[in-house]
Symmetry: D2
Subunit: 353 residues, 4 copies
C-alpha cells in the first residue's frame, strides 16, 4: 500500500496531529508523525477516510506521495527550500556563502592570523578543526577542547560564526555550547548515534558526504538529523573515491545539482579536501557556485607548508582574496549575491578587541 | 631521520623498556613504547647509541625498519602471524574458520533455528546483529540489548562463541561483557573513538573494511585497536564500492592476500554482504579460502524471504551445509584444515538443553 | 511485446528456419535468425501462431524468454556450457587450463626460454604479445609481424597452441592465419569493428573485459563476436579500475561467478595484469580456480627485470612451477582436473627440435 | 639520464633540426625530433655539448625538462595554449564555444530541425553521430555514410561546421573529407591505430576521455594524435565510471582544470552523456564554463522521447535556448566571451536556402 506525506502549517498543534493519527487508526491504518523544523509532517497510508469525520481536522498545506526511502529531506515537502542560519549567515536563500579557515586549529597565532585574513575577504563564517579524526593514531589529533576555546576567541575577535567538527556522541553537547554549527565529517557520517546526538543539539549541522557513500545514502544520513528534530542541516559534497589519482578525491559536482533537485536542504562544497591541490581550489569554487552550491568550505592557512594537518591543500590568504573577488564577479553573472555578513558588525567587534 | 621498530621478548619488563627509552633520551632522541599484545615494542630513531652503555639492556628479538605509517600491524613485527582466539576457535593458525548465522537477531525462534542449523554444519562461531546500523532511520534497527540476551542464550544452547556488532563507544563495555568478539561494522570503522573503546574492551575484535576505504587505511584503523592494547584483531574484507552493479559490492579478494603480506593479523571474508546474492556465496567462499583467508562470515537464515535485514543475501541452511562440505574438500586440496570446534563439547551442551 | 528465443537442433537447416520466419511474417511479426556456432537460433515475438500451420516445422529443442539485451551469450540457450577448443585444449569442459608466457615477445631467446619453461610445467597454451597497445607512443609496441613468426616457431618447438592479441580489423586475417586463438585486449574490447572482424576469423577469441566496463557490457561485446558467427569465445576477467591502489587493478572474481551464471561461455582469469605484483599471482590463481574459472592467463618471464613491457608483474619460471603444483592439488580438492595437453605429443615435438 | 625538450621557432627548418640531432650524435646521445603543429620540437638527453660547435645552430625558444611520459601535450611546451580552429570557431583562445545537436543523425527532418534550432541559439558547431558504436549489436548503429551526407547538407543549411565520430581507421579519410572535425569516442580512445589514422587526417580531432581512463592516460592518447603530426586536438571530458548511480557517469570537472594545467590543449565538456539526465545539463554546463572549459558538447533533440540513441539525455531546443542565455551571462561574470560565429554568415546562408 502506498503512502502519502501530509505537510501541515506550522500553526497546527500536536493535538491536531494526534487527532489525525487517531482518525487513521480508526480506519485501521498506522501513521507516523514528524516535525520538519517547526512544520508538522504526517506519513499516512493511502486509505479511504471518511471526510465527514475528518472534515473538522486541519487540512495539509501539501500532500506528497511517498516514494523511495527519503522522507523528511524530500524537496517535495518544502519546494521553496530550507534556509539554514549559522550566526548571521543565511544558507539556502540564493546567496553564495563562504566559510574558510585552517583545516585544524594549531596555535592561537595561526588561528587568529588565518581568521583575520579570511574575515577581511568577506567570508560568512570561520572553519577550523579542534577534533581531527585521523587515519593514523600517530597523526596530530587536534587541540581538542583547547582548540574549541581558541575558536571561541577567534569568533569574538572577528565576529564570524564558527563551524567545527564533532566526532563522538558524548561530545555533542559541549561542542554545541560553543560552536555556531556542528560539522559531521566524511568518516563519521554513517555513525548513526552521532547523527542522532547531533540532530538533538539545537544548532545547525554541516553533514559531509562520505567518500564511498551515494547521494541517496547521504540523504538517509540527513534523515537521521531531521528525524531527531533538526531541520537546520547543510549537506556538504567533498569528493568521492574513484580510480583517478590526479586529485585526492573526485569532486562530484553533479551531486550538488542532484541534491538540490531531490532535497530542500542547502548544499555546501568543500573543494579543498576534494582536490588536495591549492591551485584547483579556485576553479572548483567557481564551478561549485555555478552548479548551484549555496556555500563553500575552503581551507586557508597562513603558512600551508607548516600545517599539521592537510596543509598541502590549503590556500594562501592572498590567493584566497583573489578567489573571493572572482567569485563575487561570477555571482553577478549568475544573478546571485554573496552572502556577506554586514561589515559594520565586524568593524564594531574588531573595535572592541 | 629514519626509525626502527624494536620488538622484545614478552618477558622484558616495562622497567627495562623505560631504561631503553631513557637511554635514547640521553642520545637526544625520542622513542615511543607500545605493546603488541604482550610483546613490548619500541619505535626509536636510528641514532648511534653507546653500546657500552646499552650493553646491559635486553636485546630486541627483532629489529625492523619503520616504513610508511603502519607500525603495530606490520607483518615484520610478527612474521609468524597473530592467532586470534574467539571462544575455542583459533583464527590465524592456518585453519579455515567459518562463522555463520543471521544478519540480524529477529526472534528467539529465528535465532535458535539458525544457530542450531549452522552449529550442525561445523561452524566455529555464531554471528548475529543485535544493533544494526541502517542507512534509513525507518529501517529495523535491531533488537538491541534484547538481541544480545538472545545471542547469549544461543551460545548456551549451541556452545558456539558469538560475534556481534557494537555501534557506539559507550556500548562497548556492556556488549563485551556478553559477546565473545566485537564486530566493528564497515560504516563505523573510521569512528576512531569507537575503535579506541573497542581496543580496550579486552576481547577480540573483527574489524570490517569500509567499502570506500583502502587497504592501508584499514590497517590504520587496526592500528587504533592495537595501539589501545589489543592484538586480538581480525580484519574482515566485505567488498568495496565500484561501478559494477551486478553485485552489491565488489569483493576485493586481492586485498586478502595483500593484508596477509603486509600484516600479521588474520583475515576474514564476508561473501554474503559483498555479493548480496545467495548463489554467489558458495563460489566466493571457496575463492576466499583459496586466496588465503583465515575465516569466513556467512549469512544463514532459516527463512531468508522473511528476514528484516538484508535477507535477500542470506543462504538457506541446506545450501550452507553443502557449502561446508565443499569447503572441507577444498581445504584438503590446499593443505589446510577446517577449524572445527570439538563436536563433543557441543554434544554435551546440547544434551544439557 | 515480449519475445522468445527458440533454440534448434544443429540438424535444422537454413531453409527450415526461413520457413519459421515466413510463418511469423504471416502472423505479422518480425523474427531474427542467428547461429550460435552451428546451433540455429530464432528470436521471435510472442505471437499466437497457428500450430496447425506450424505443425510440420521442426520444434525448437529449447524456448527461452528474451530478457534484457543479452541474446546469444545467454546461458539459458546452452545450459550445458560452451566448450572452446584452442589447439588440443578444451576450455569449458570442467578442466582448469593454464596459458602462460611472456607479456610481450621480445627476442627469440627470451620467447623460447619462457615457452620451454611453461611447457614443462603443464600449461595448455602459450601466450605472448606481438602487437602491444601501449598508453604512450614512446613505449615498446611489440615486434609485430616478426613477433608473430617467433610465436609460430615457439609453437613448433613446444607443441603449445598460441594465443596472441590482435589490435586492428585489417590485421585479423593475417594474425588468424598463424595464431590458434585471437586475444582482444581490454582497451579494444568495445572496438566494435575489431570485434566483428574477429568474430569472422574462424578461430577462437579470448575477449578481455575492459577495466571500466561492466559485466553486462562485456557480454554485449561477446554478443558482437557470437553474432558474427563465432561461438568459440572465452571471456577473460583481468581486473577493474577502483580507488584501491595497492594493486594495479581490482580483480573482480565475483564477476567470474556471475559470467558463469549468466552466460554459457567459458571464463578465463588474468591475475598477472590485474594485480601487477608477482607475489599476488599465486593466491589469485588459486582463488580464480576455486571461484569457477575455466582457464588462467599468466605472465611468466625468464628475466622479469629486463622485460620491455609490464615486466614487474611477471613470475619467474621456478615460482610458476610451484604454482602449477599447488593448482593441481587444489583442483583435486574441488573435484576438477587440470587440462593438460598430452605430454607425449610435446615429448615428440621436443625430440624433433 | 634526464632529458630536455627543446622547442624551436616555427621558422627553423628540418635541416637545422637534423643538424642539432647530428650534433647530439657526436656527443654519443640519441635525440628525437617531432613537430607540434608547425613547431619543431627536439627531445634530447642532458649531455654536455660543445657550445663552440653548436653555436651556429638555432637556439630553442624554450627548454623544458622532460618529466613523466607526457611530451607533446605538455603545457610547458606551449604555455600560451593551443587554439584549435573548427570551421570559423576558435577553441582555446578564451572564448566559450558550444557545439550542439542530436546524439545520432536519424532522419533529414530530425537533423535539420535540430540544426536550425541550435544555430539560432548561437552555437559554433553542429554535433551529430553518423556512426554510433553501441554496446549491443542489436541497437541502432547510425545511418553511417548516409548520415554523413545529411550532416554535410545541414552544414550548408546552417553554416555550422560539423563534428562527427569516426570509429575505424579505414573510415578516417572519407569522414575527414566531409567533416570539419573528427570525434574519437570514449570506447575507442585507446584504439591506437584509430588515433594514429586520425592524427594524420589533417583536420581537428575531439578526443573523448574514456570512462575508465585516467587524466594522464588521456594525455597519452592525445600524444598519439600529436605525434602523428596534428596539434589541432581538443580533449573532451564526458564523465567517468564511479559507484554513484544517480547520474549515468560522474562528470569529473576537476579533470578539466587539471588538463588545462598539464596540457596546452583546449578542453571540451560533454554534460549530456555524463549526466544522462536533461535537467542536469544546465547546471553542469555552467559549472564547466566556470571551471575553465573552452567548449561544450550538448545533446539537443527536437523530440527526445523519440530519439533512437540516448534520447533520454537530450535537451529540448527551448531549454537549450534558455541555457545559452544563462551561459552568456555567466561568461560575462568570469570575464570571457561566447565564441559566436558571425551571425551575418549564417543569415546569408539561410537566405540562400
Amino acid at each position: 500500500m502506498s503512502s502519502t506525506v501530509m505537510v501541515f502549517d506550522t500553526a497546527v498543534s500536536d493535538e491536531q496531529i494526534q487527532a489525525w493519527q487517531h482518525h487513521f487508526e480508526l480506519a485501521g491504518a498506522r501513521s507516523a508523525a514528524y516535525r520538519l523544523g517547526s512544520t508538522p509532517v504526517l506519513v499516512a497510508p493511502d486509505v479511504p477516510h471518511d471526510t465527514a469525520v475528518s472534515g473538522w481536522l486541519p487540512r495539509p498545506i501539501r500532500e506528497v506521495p511517498l516514494t523511495g526511502e527519503i522522507r523528511l529531506p524530500d524537496r517535495a515537502l518544502r519546494p521553496e527550500g530550507t534556509v539554514v542560519r549559522i550566526g548571521p549567515a543565511t544558507i539556502g536563500d540564493g546567496t553564495i556563502n563562504v566559510f574558510a579557515g585552517p583545516c585544524a586549529v594549531e596555535t592561537r597565532e595561526q588561528l587568529f592570523a588565518s581568521a583575520d585574513a579570511v574575515a577581511q575577504c568577506g567570508v560568512v563564517g570561520l572553519r577550523g578543526g579542534a577534533f581531527k579524526p585521523r587515519t593514523s593514531p600517530y597523526s596530530f589529533q587536534g587541540l581538542r577542547w583547547d582548540g574549541l576555546d581558541l575558536l571561541a576567541e577567534a569568533r569574538e575577535r572577528t565576529g564570524l560564526p564558527i563551524v567545527t567538527e564533532v566526532v563522538q556522541p558524548d561530545h555533542v553537547e559541549r561542542v554545541a555550547a560553543t560552536a555556531d554549527a556542528l560539522q559531521i565529517g566524511a568518516r563519521n557520517m554513517q555513525n548513526f548515534s552521532l547523527l542522532t546526538a547531533a540532530g538533538q543539539a539545537g544548532i545547525p549541522v554541516v553533514l559531509k558526504r562520505g567518500f564511498g557513500v551515494t547521494i541517496d545514502e547521504t540523504l538517509g544520513a540527513a534523515e537521521y538529523l531531521l528525524n531527531a528534530g533538526n531541520d537546520q542541516v547543510v549537506i556538504c559534497e567533498r569528493g568521492i573515491r574513484t580510480f583517478e589519482t590526479a586529485t585526492r578525491f573526485t569532486l562530484d559536482l553533479s551531486a550538488v545539482a542532484v541534491f538540490k533537485q531531490r532535497s530542500h536542504l542547502p548544499v555546501m562544497v568543500d573543494p579543498s579536501h576534494a582536490a588536495g591541490i591549492p591551485s584547483l581550489v579556485e576553479p572548483l569554487t567557481l564551478a561549485a557556485a555555478a552548479v548551484g552550491a549555496d556555500a563553500l568550505l575552503i581551507d586557508v592557512h597562513i603558512r600551508p607548508e607548516q600545517a599539521l594537518c592537510d596543509g598541502k591543500q590549503a590556500m594562501l590568504p592572498t590567493d584566497f582574496a583573489q578567489l573571493m573577488g572572482k567569485l563575487e564577479m561570477l555571482a553577478m553573472g549568475i544573478g546571485r549575491k554573496m552572502g556577506n555578513v554586514a561589515r559594520a558588525d565586524i568593524g564594531e567587534l574588531l573595535a572592541q578587541v
